[in-house]
Symmetry: C2
Subunit: 193 residues, 2 copies
Amino acid sequence: MTQKTPRRPDNTRGRKRDTTRTDAILKAAASLLLEVGFDRFRIQDVATRAGSGTGAIYRRWPTKESLIIEAIRNMPVPEAPVTDDPVADLRAIVAPRCISSAEKPDLVPGLISAMRSDVGIEKVVKEGYSHEYMRNAIARIIGDDHPHLDLLSELTPAITLLRSSFTPESIDPQAMTDEIISLIQSVAKDTSS
Amino acid sequence: MTQKTPRRPDNTRGRKRDTTRTDAILKAAASLLLEVGFDRFRIQDVATRAGSGTGAIYRRWPTKESLIIEAIRNMPVPEAPVTDDPVADLRAIVAPRCISSAEKPDLVPGLISAMRSDVGIEKVVKEGYSHEYMRNAIARIIGDDHPHLDLLSELTPAITLLRSSFTPESIDPQAMTDEIISLIQSVAKDTSS
């Protein structure tokens, strides 16, 4: 009996190369999405950023939406720093969201529009929706069993979304960060009194 | 010199009839908008609701968007009740917004999409954007000079928008109302301590 020896080294190399390419495309898509938003997201720009051809992208994801869905699914979960200053740690995750809502006020409203026009995008966003990292950071300040922990965990994404949708011109990211942190600190004080 | 006597009585009646018709159409458009949202807003349904013909509508507003803009501009400003129980008064304006976000989770996300696709809608919504009535009701509980008054005035619209956009299935309007009122009350307590 003769058996073909599978050309393992080559196959492995090929698979590895393929995975690396796929990863590069997904990372490029995610960073482009966060940078330009949904309306100006173009496959050609993903290709340029990933150093790949558009063909390599379309072979993997036949539509722009399917690439967006996969890129969102692969976005890293945000993590909060943990130092001995929990207020500074919270500020380190609240401030970037406030800055983003000031500099890219259309990003989350654009996401909402995209979710409304594509059920696949809606599904993947809702599946990945979590403010656990925000919750953990706030719990370190006000306590894990504080009655307002859930509501306060949603405060930053909620206020940034509201202002970027309706009053983007009034967003001062530094002042907004201070307002949010200060409210959370005052709630913490209230518990201990 | 002969001068035509203007037929005043008739003209006046005509103008009045016309104003009444215009008002009825705008009221019908506003109520339909709040009921079915932007995507399912149809001129034919406005006409039915206003007891008018579609011709009467198109003569005044050549496009659906122009009617929507005028209807939004004419929406009454919400008012908060003022009794001797400020917490109950606040609840009376927070609860309906929470209920609306549970029963019609697409209403505000739909508004955001409409604002993104029509600059006229965006302009009129931003011009009319105000949470003054919410601010006044909260000021009666926590004081007019409370450092968190602005942020707390936006809390209800922000949280309802966030949840209706990303987690509509988790909206319990009663629980959400309680969470919001309770946080505001705890902040008030903090000040007096």
